[in-house]
């Protein structure tokens, strides 16, 4: 079970969190024309990298904040965690 440092609550076990997928996906702006391809990229297509991955986790059984986690998908090492508004260089 992973040990995730919530930027608000500190270290908590994985079972307090829900996984939220790739944190670098940006939703197209409202009312903006987007092509089918752009939209499908946003809704469906995700990379499955082996290695560093910036992802969202939701502290569901805690502060209920969505946070960003930089994790190695291969080793499960967590390099750092961030508040949702933090800009992260990957």
């Amino acid at each position: 079970m992973l040990y995730i440092k919530c930027p608000y609550c500190g270290y908590r076990s994985q079972n307090e969190f829900a996984y939220g997928g790739d944190a670098t996906i940006k939703r197209p702006e409202l009312n903006k024309e987007v092509t089918d391809k752009e939209w499908d990229n946003f809704v469906y297509l995700r990379k499955s990298p082996r290695g560093k991955h910036l992802e969202l986790w939701h502290h569901v059984s805690g502060c209920r904040q969505w946070i960003k986690v930089l994790r190695d998908t291969n080793t499960h090492e967590i390099f750092n965690t961030y508040k949702s508004e933090d800009k992260v260089e990957t």
Binding site: M1, L2, Y3, S13, A18, G20, R27, P28, L30, N31, V34, D36, W39, F42, V43, Y44, L56, H58, V60, R64, Q65, W66, T75, H76, I78, S84, E85
Partner: protein, 998 residues
């Protein structure tokens, strides 16, 4: 009765306390502190089981966790446990055990015929034989294999015992209380660290219990006892025996199973049998020790062939002799301790040492005690069927390939030692790689992967002096990093005998003309010849060889067999052992009971149960409850002899005719506040929200980004910047997470806050033509007329002194209201409604009537909003705004979502107006067509329409829009029903929606 194999003067057991027990129906006694194994051996019992494949007689091989043979069915306090290792099971008064894998008895086992047919049971036998013909698999092969496979039988009764889980955090978790574990625990604890020290066995001390060493001026055992006593008295230390750390998971999470009452006749009322510990450790010390491995020779599975270290442990810990005429067969010095211990107890062993001319202190001591030692000698084969009676021995050539002068000597046991294998399971589970060390012919952990360190013989260090020095140092260093304290202890002086080098010899060659079985894996009957066959057949990867031959796959996980198997593969393949590699170590290290894994989360405790504030009223009024998500809701209120059908029909009819009340507390509620709330709702819902006035409610549908309907419900504008959102009971948690995601991640600029208020409000739906009259009675001071409180209106009002919210919304299609009060006042509100409703023939109704009412109205719910339907499919397309954007809108442009024959909701009525259609039935054109029949749609929900007094169902049907009036068949192969049906509108009652507005 005397115990002829019990020693008077040695042992750590309590000889003042006799304990009686039964094995295979026969009564014996042992002493407090015995294991089932030691007590049986004391009574001269060596035949305890049969092997897996050939049903060969099996005795004891080890004295602990490595035991491959002595697996028994245990009976305790009316319960039974399968596959208990007799070497680990402590004796208690009244213990009963039986042999497994034998029929009709362990002495005469019909399955042993496999032994004589073994030419037919080579490696991969099952794969080869049970493949063809395919149709034989389920009826003939599988039942046969199931009958032949497995050892004990699991109980089919409910387990009365309690199990529990515990979460713990520490600085240092130390796995194993041998010298390295004790030293590192002591050094770290004295330096202020929070330490957990776990020992699998009942007794602490590991090898110190049986080795002839001194530490400081004490014996090894006394030193261990004193350290443990001191650790137990320290506040920062938890010391646990009978506790196996069996799994090493991510981020230094380790799991330990503690056996609390397995060694007692029964558990106290409030004591759990076992406890599972989930431990998050800053650092882990793996001091799991090492396990002796055997040398392979002919018939080496005969009862009476034991590990030399086990023979020593039986003498020194339990005061029990495994035999009175022992042969000791070794390739290293450690077995000499066993020989000396025999000699001290007036037994004369013969030592066969495969080495030509070893020189060491302990060998000198053995010789000086008059022990007979034959160098360059080996055991060729054990003789005897149910017990060793003699053995063939021979001199072995220097190249270890030729046997010279085979002779037979009498003996009653053969104590074998092929050197030591570090127990690296935990280190390997942590993700660490391993490395092969030529010096000890075994693998040890390589660089640490997580925050762990391996010490002592688990790390391939076999001298006590070095072990203690390193462990004291590491305990100090690791704790200093965490505690920043600097209290360093000196490692004590050690006196131990220096050991000479072991011999790399591990397998005795077959003599000419002999075809003895030489076993590698004792539990699974994998012999040298099986591995040779697998390699001849082309298997190369050690993982494949393992699965094909089942080497190392038994409940002992190959603890005594894996390395010898690797030696064999490397020899045949002409590769070095590290090039062959080893199979993966996976948790659990030892079997864990299902009970411990589940803990307290059984039955009603497997999930939380939520009850509404009115629950006790429902109970008192004969409600029959149903699980609705985590909630318990009244399904119907039983009157006289009514069943579900009659009661729900009565309740629904009363709503249509008079008035009913339903507990709707479980509905999800979310408070939405902030100046951008309207804008946010406008983005979340498919319809327009910007112009909803204060005091009005609106029905809304929300989508996922892929265009599929996520949830629906009404949301009410309470004040300018305050909305009260409702969700379905099932989706409440998901909707909240969904809203939080958009507010925190996608549109953080919006000034909106959301919070769940589900449990803050108790809700009652009052529905039916007389509902307004009833409402007026409970709110005498409030104008609830159609003008003052129109459909989709909202009022705050005073319910006999209690603040209430009234929403004029309807799920039933009737004139209806929902009244909310703070949860604490829920019961008060409910009783007021019931009391005042008598006059109007009010009846409470449950979820079944609620469903009936919504189905015949054509209101969609969870069974239609099933995560596969878009607004069009469920008839909600009228709620899609053309003017604004919202979550999921772009997806609705997808081609498939705009096909002209797209699926859509319809109503379904059986032609005979009698036969109810099972939910989940498929709608088809021709039920007699060849399978698979083309499916046009499915029945999503069924009810008995109280309005029309015949069955009615909702369905999602291909081209549903144009199918009204057509005749199809509803097929349910599950219920074996085919029903001719007519497709009608989904709005079966009041299609114009006049009642809700009346």
């Amino acid at each position: 009765m005397t115990q002829s194999f019990r020693l008077d003067k040695t042992g750590l057991i309590n000889k003042n306390k006799k304990i009686s027990f039964k094995f295979n129906g026969k009564s014996y006694f042992g002493y407090e502190g015995d294991t089932l194994a030691s007590a049986l051996i004391a009574n001269g019992v060596h035949l305890v089981g049969r092997s897996f494949k050939y049903h060969r007689p099996r005795g004891f091989f080890g004295a602990g966790v490595d035991e491959p043979y002595a697996i028994v069915q245990l009976y305790r306090n009316g319960e039974t446990d399968p596959n208990v290792r007799a070497t680990e099971q402590e004796l208690f008064e009244g213990l009963e055990a039986k042999s497994v894998n034998c029929w009709p008895s362990v002495n005469f086992d019909i399955g042993a015929i496999n032994n004589f047919l073994n030419i037919f049971l080579p490696a991969g036998f099952y794969y080869k034989t049970f493949m063809w013909p395919r149709s034989f698999w389920y009826k003939i092969y599988e039942p046969f294999i199931r009958k032949a496979a497995g050892f004990g039988a699991a109980s089919t009764k409910h387990d009365k015992e309690k199990y529990e889980h515990k979460y713990e955090y520490c600085d240092l978790l130390i796995a194993g209380s041998g010298p390295s574990g004790l030293a590192s625990a002591y050094a770290a604890a004295k330096n202020g660290a929070r330490v957990i020290l776990a020992e699998d066995k009942p007794r602490y001390g590991g090898s110190l219990l049986t080795s002839d060493v001194s530490i400081g001026n004490q014996s090894g055992k006394d030193w261990a006892d004193n350290i443990i006593a001191e650790l137990k008295g320290m506040e920062n230390v938890i010391v646990k025996n009978r506790s196996q750390i069996f799994g090493y998971y991510d981020h230094n999470m380790l799991v330990m199973s503690e056996r609390i009452t397995d060694h007692l006749p029964k558990s106290d009322k409030h004591t759990p049998k076992q406890r599972m510990w989930y431990i998050r450790a800053k650092q882990v010390v793996i001091s799991s020790g090492s396990i002796e491995r055997p040398i392979v020779f002919g018939n080496n599975d005969t009862p009476g062939v034991v590990l030399a270290s086990a023979a020593k442990e039986y003498m020194k810990v339990y005061g029990v002799l495994v035999g009175k005429k022992p042969v000791i067969f070794t390739n290293n010095d450690s077995a000499y301790e066993t020989a000396i211990e025999f000699k001290k107890n007036n037994i004369n062993p013969v030592v066969l040492d495969s080495r030509k001319n070893p020189q060491s202190e302990i060998i000198k001591e053995a010789l000086s005690l008059g022990i007979e030692v034959k160098f360059s000698h080996v055991v060729v084969a054990a003789k005897g069927y149910k017990k060793v009676k003699s053995c063939d021995i021979a001199m072995i050539s220097d190249n270890k390939e030729n046997l010279i002068d085979i002779t037979n000597i009498k003996c009653d046991c053969i104590c074998v030692s092929g050197f030591w294998t570090p127990t690296i399971h935990l280190a390997s589970q942590s993700g660490s790689k391993t490395k092969f060390v030529e010096d000890i012919d075994a693998f040890i952990p390589d660089k640490s992967k997580q925050k762990e360190i391996t010490l002592g013989s688990a790390n391939g260090v076999f001298t006590l002096d070095e072990t203690l020095k390193t462990s004291f140092q590491k305990g100090y260093e690791l704790s200093k990093e965490i505690t920043n304290q600097d209290n360093k202890l000196q490692s004590p002086q050690v006196s131990e005998k220096q050991q000479s080098k072991h011999d790399k010899f591990w397998c005795v060659p077959l003599p000419n003309g002999k075809n003895y079985k030489r076993f590698l894996d004792f539990q699974n009957d994998v012999a040298v010849s099986d591995i040779e066959l697998a390699l001849r057949e082309g298997y190369r990867s050690i993982e494949h060889v393992k699965r094909y031959t089942t080497l190392g796959m038994a409940t002992d996980q190959g603890r005594t067999s894996n390395l010898n198997g690797l030696q064999l593969v490397s020899k045949i393949e002409n590769k070095v052992v590290p090039a062959v590699g080893h199979t993966t170590f996976r948790p659990p290290y030892t079997p864990v009971t299902i009970g411990a894994i589940v803990g307290r989360e059984i039955g009603k405790h497997s999930k939380p149960t939520r009850k509404s504030p009115m629950h006790s009223w429902h109970e008192k009024n004969n409600a029959v409850f149903v699980d609705a998500g985590v909630w318990l809701r009244p399904r119907y209120y039983k009157k006289d002899n009514e069943g579900l059908f009659e009661a729900s029909k009565r309740e629904a009819e009363n709503v249509r005719k008079n008035v009913g009340v339903c507990d709707v507390t479980t509905l999800g509620k979310i408070d939405v506040k902030g100046k951008d709330s309207a804008e946010f709702l406008n983005r979340v819902y498919t319809n327009a929200w910007l112009k909803l006035p204060v005091g009005k409610a609106r029905y809304g549908v929300m989508l996922r980004e892929d265009g599929v309907v996520m949830d629906d419900g009404t949301t009410t504008r309470i004040s300018e910047n305050h909305y009260h959102m409702t969700t379905t009971t099932a989706q409440a948690a998901n909707v909240l997470s969904h809203l939080e995601y958009y507010l925190q991640i996608v549109w953080p600029e919006l000034d909106v806050n959301v919070v769940s208020s589900t449990e803050q409000w108790a809700g009652a739906a009052i529905a039916g033509p007389k509902s307004r009259d009833l409402l007026q009675k409970i709110f005498p001071d409030t104008d609830v007329s159609n003008d003052a409180l129109p459909f989709m209106g909202f009022l705050e009002a005073n319910l006999f002194g209690v603040k209430a919210r009234i929403f004029r919304i309807s799920f039933s299609g009737e004139l209806a209201y929902e009244v909310n009060v703070e949860s604490d006042n829920g019961n008060f509100m409910w009783e007021k409604i019931i009391e005042n409703g008598k006059h109007f023939n009010l009846q409470p109704y449950g979820t079944e009537a609620l469903s009936t009412l919504r189905i015949e109205m054509g209101h969609v719910a969870g069974s239609e909003l099933d995560g596969r339907t878009i607004p069009y499919d469920t008839g909600l397309d009228g709620l899609i705004s053309k003017k604004k954007d919202f979550i999921g809108k772009r997806s609705l442009l997808k081609k498939a979502f705009n096909e002209t024959d797209r699926q859509r909701i319809v109503g379904v009525v059986p032609l005979d107006k009698k036969t109810s259609i099972p939910e989940g039935s498929h709608l088809v054109n021709d039920p007699k067509a060849k399978m698979p029949i083309l499916k046009l749609g499915h029945i999503s929900a069924s009810c008995w329409s109280v309005e029309h007094n015949n069955p009615f169902s909702l369905a999602i049907l291909k081209d549903g829009k144009n199918m009204i009036g057509s005749k199809l068949y509803a097929m349910s192969p599950l219920k074996n029903k085919t029903i001719p049906v007519e497709i009608v509108s989904s709005h079966y009652v009041d299609p114009k929606g006049e009642r809700v507005r009346s």
